[in-house]
């Protein structure tokens, strides 16, 4: 059955919970991944993802289609909640990356796996030090596999601006690789 987002959105904004449920099924993984990579731990990712959908449900009657995809609206809610979370966190303590699982690649020697995991952790640490906009861009590009044009719609930028921001982000990461002892020659 074809997913007619426009029609489902119209029903959801009139208070149809089943319609909102369909939107939930469609976007839960994407929002969860976004929040997970922005926070770095599963527990907070689940808590914030739940809050994103509850807030979306309470305010969906205010949603108006202005040519921006519904996902952009959800990402905006998620972005605001993550920003609040970081602000509250920074008042209390430093973010721990210890519970951020790094997925091992199949068939690799355990020692090589360990080195790779450490390097991935270091890379995640570097990513999390980037400005939020650049983190969003990397998550949307690599986790969500979106094109520059799609990312542009979500971030409210042109395709060219996204391309340029992406290039600058890569350069910034490259310049900091040495600080975290990340060696790219092992690939």
């Amino acid at each position: 059955m074809e997913f007619n987002e426009e029609e489902i959105l119209a029903r959801a904004s009139e208070g149809d919970r089943d319609a909102f449920g369909q939107l939930y099924e469609r976007y839960i993984d994407r929002i969860f991944n976004y929040v997970y990579y922005r926070t770095g731990n599963l527990h907070d990712a689940e808590d914030l993802t739940a809050r994103v959908f509850q807030r979306a449900m309470n305010h969906i009657h205010n949603y108006t289609d202005r040519g921006v995809p519904f996902s952009a609206w959800l990402y905006r809610i998620a972005h605001n909640l993550v920003a609040n979370w970081h602000r509250d966190r920074s008042r209390r303590q430093e973010i721990s990356l210890e519970d951020m699982p790094v997925l091992p690649l199949k068939g690799e020697h355990p020692e090589r796996n360990l080195v790779r995991s450490q390097e991935q952790e270091a890379l995640l640490k570097l990513i999390r030090r980037l400005p939020p906009e650049r983190q969003n861009l990397l998550i949307l590009k690599f986790v969500e596999n979106l094109s520059n044009a799609e990312i542009g719609k979500i971030m409210g930028r042109s395709e060219g601006a996204v391309k340029s921001l992406y290039h600058r982000t890569l350069l910034a990461l490259r310049d900091q690789l040495g600080d975290e002892h990340i060696n790219l020659d092992g690939d």
């Binding site: 919970r17 969860f32 991944n33 689940e46 998550i139 690599f142 986790v143 890569l170």
Partner: protein
């Protein structure tokens, strides 16, 4: 005027490797099915606060209370009238 430095071939290779490393690090992960299920239920069933807020509408509550009291008064009046009529008949 400072000219923008064009990337060298080794820069390009390094950026390609960095992209590969990013793709290997930023992988999509699946939220736990338990979490997805429980959140789905919370979304489909009205929240406790929402149910409570419906009862907090004092105007509706006032009309309901007024309706119940009026109904009771009517029943009592009818009962008294019937009792009075029945009592008269017995006394005749």
């Amino acid at each position: 005027m400072a000219r923008r430095k064009s990337p060298t071939e080794s820069d390009e290779v390094l950026l390609k490797k960095l992209e590969t490393r990013l793709a290997g690090t930023l992988k999509p992960i699946q939220p736990s099915s338990e979490f997805v299920r429980s959140l789905r239920e919370r979304i489909r069933i009205p929240a406790h606060e929402e149910i409570v807020s419906r009862f907090r509408e004092w105007r509706r509550l006032f009309f309901v209370f007024g309706g119940v009291m009026s109904g009771l008064l009517l029943v009592i009046t009818l009962a008294r009238a019937l009792f009075h009529l029945a009592g008269r008949k017995d006394g005749m």
